[in-house]
């Protein structure tokens, strides 16, 4: 720090005489600043972590889940969730978690098969056990599971089973994978459509803009639910599960892009008049360079926020469709498919654990909203 007493006149190009210390933020890129701001948002971090855990667990559903989604434990159909324990009935501690044995007995009065907990026998849970064979992502075969029971006559259903004795825990994992991936692909497709059409409308303006905007207004004026129903009902019944999956995703994206397109257009129209874009034009930049180097980076962060926020809408839409029996079908499981089987009062009363997928949907949607909130704050890191 210098405190020289230079005559003012000689320093007409008044460079700051005092060297200000270089702050970390001075040379930080936009994304760094965004991250620094984002991580101050605790709820968003929480939401992000929940979603990350969901994504990772479901990505490795074959490995994490002890069963495949269609495998049945006939003797434990409609079974309650089995809690795991570390401390047994005699109060002694076991390092290895265990479940109590279940015994099936015929009720002498009703003549029904009933399962009771047998606290004298413990089934210890093992990790990295060899059990059912599966094909990871349809690519390579394995039979290694994260956890399970060594004895293949015993069974482990942490979240219970459905009417047919299928393991709810495994099914929820597979369903999470389907639903999140539909969300991701759907949002991705919607984003592509939105950014292309919105971009064309916003950059060229005039007549093109008018046509695209009217198209968007037309699509948005159609009530969504009947439209989905109509489109989904039009899918041929004989299509394979995979074909249905892809077309449902496409249907959701086709309707979801309008919102994004509007945002892209609005942002581009505003950016076109920004002084730094005008300056780029004067610098001799081509249209392509202006768009890719100046305009896109300026609203990419906003678009990502929009994406995060539109994610739950697509997921909810899929859940709604499948719940109504018009979306995914077995053998593909999604949150909606799982909830479909929890539709009647009888199962809700007798097997409330069938509603667990609904809880997962709620957690995911809330997590997305927290995440979106934090990202919205971080998208403009230059304001305090």
């Amino acid at each position: 720090m210098s405190t020289t007493t230079t005559a003012t006149g000689t320093l007409s190009v008044g460079v700051a005489t005092r060297e200000t210390k270089v702050k970390r933020t001075d040379t930080a890129t936009h994304w760094q600043l965004m991250w620094w701001k984002f991580r101050n948002h605790k709820m968003a971090l929480l939401g992000g972590s929940i979603l990350a855990i969901m994504a990772i667990l479901s990505l490795f559903a074959e490995f994490v889940g002890p069963y495949t989604p269609q495998e049945r434990t006939a003797k434990y159909a409609q079974g309650r969730p089995m809690g795991f324990h570390f401390i047994d009935a005699e109060n002694s501690f076991h390092l290895r978690p265990f479940v109590y044995a279940r015994v099936a007995k015929r009720n002498k009065v009703t003549l029904r098969m009933e399962t009771t907990v047998d606290k004298t026998e413990m089934w210890p849970i093992s990790f990295f056990v060899r059990a059912d064979k599966y094909k990871m992502w349809g690519l390579f075969e394995s039979d290694l599971h994260l956890f399970g029971l060594e004895n293949n006559r015993h069974f482990l259903h942490l979240l219970g089973t459905d009417q047919l004795g299928r393991d709810m825990f495994s099914r929820v994992l597979y369903a999470t994978r389907t639903s999140l991936s539909i969300g991701a692909i759907g949002v991705g497709l919607a984003f592509l459509l939105g950014i292309t059409l919105g971009g064309i409308a916003g950059y060229f303006g005039g007549m093109v803009d008018g046509v695209i905007m009217r198209l968007i207004e037309f699509i948005r004026s159609i009530p969504t639910l009947p439209l989905w129903l109509a489109l989904a009902a039009a899918l041929p019944r004989e299509w394979t599960a995979l074909q249905v999956y892809l077309s449902i995703t496409a249907i959701l994206a086709l309707i979801g892009w309008t919102h994004l397109a509007r945002r892209v257009r609005g942002k581009l129209l505003a950016l076109r008049e920004e002084e730094f874009v005008l300056a780029a034009r004067l610098s001799g930049c081509s249209h392509a360079r202006i768009v890719t180097r100046h305009m896109l980076p300026s609203f990419m962060s906003y678009m990502i926020v929009d994406l995060t926020i539109s994610f739950p809408y697509i997921i909810m839409a899929e859940t709604a469709l499948s719940f109504l029996g018009l979306g995914m079908r077995e053998p593909i499981v999604s949150w909606g498919v799982l909830l479909y089987s929890a539709q009647n009062i009888r199962s809700m009363v007798l097997m409330p654990w069938l509603l667990i997928p609904g809880l997962v949907v709620i957690i995911a949607v809330i997590a997305f909203n927290f995440l979106g909130d934090g990202m919205r704050d971080a998208a403009d890191p230059y304001t305090k």
Binding site: T3, T6, T8, V15, A16, R18, T20, K384
Partner: protein, 340 residues
Amino acid sequence: MNQDTLLEIKNIYISVELDGHSLPIVEDVSLSLKAGEILALVGESGCGKSVTAQSIMQLLPKPLKIESGEIKMNSHKQGKIIDITKMDPRGAEIRKIRGNEIAMIFQEPMSSFSPLHTIGNQLMEVIRIHRKASKPKAKAIAVEMLDKVGIPGAARVVDQYPHELSGGMRQRAMIAKALSCNPTLLIADEPTTALDVTIQAQVLTLMHGLQSEFGMAIIFITHDLGVVAQVADRVAIMYLGNIIEQGTVREILKNPKHPYTVNLIEAVPRLGRLEGRKALVPIQGSVPSLYDRPVGCPFVTRCTRVINNRCEEAMPRLLSMSTDHQVACFLYDSTEGETS
């Protein structure tokens, strides 16, 4: 407190909470204002002039807070001396002061009008709350006020919405709203900065006229020394949260003492000095950020007359140069080594 003193700010400190640090933005500011006097508060962005004014109405935005000091006001309507710093910013006491004894006008007139109600309704609301007037009476007062601020066709404008008026007219309407309860103090925060120069001249003339008619005191916040010279009686120059020089307008502008004031006057282009058009003498560097506030005199980083081992060490105290001219600079402080 003296009988004809209207407002007295004593050693007020205001700080802001940023990233867990408490940074001072107004330091040890003392001001006093006589009834009917126009005081200009001058400085560049971030010097704390607006914050000081907001504190008078307990209107500081969230992360800002008065740390210490007092703001005393001789309330004519209540017939006693009140201390504003002791009041709850959301309490009933301060609401009796705001808009009633102290009114405020801003740079952006839309900020003091709701777009959903007519100009008349918004004026009448204030009048009815503070003056306990009946509805027809309040409307009559509203029309009278609009007429006084020179809005043509006041009887018609009273039923119009704010967006139907032009910028200059909105500014006038805002002044009418501020004056409708006959306040003893008007705080004007850069009221003409956004206006064109011809409209600015009209608004300044208007304010001058209203001041002599209503007799209220005005605190005029501005960065424009020309506006100061034209409207104010006294002026306080602020730099980085400190008053570095204050006195009568004529004294300060014609006989500035603090190097910052001297440089500032030199750096402003003027019409009167056209011949030859010599290069302006700029102040070097820029105002340090709150985080980089220098120890000692706040101007030390840009000053050309730094006294070694003194200016960087301590904040100089305000010294009286004459009856109404005080300056905070070691150049005029002969008491060696002593700090206040």
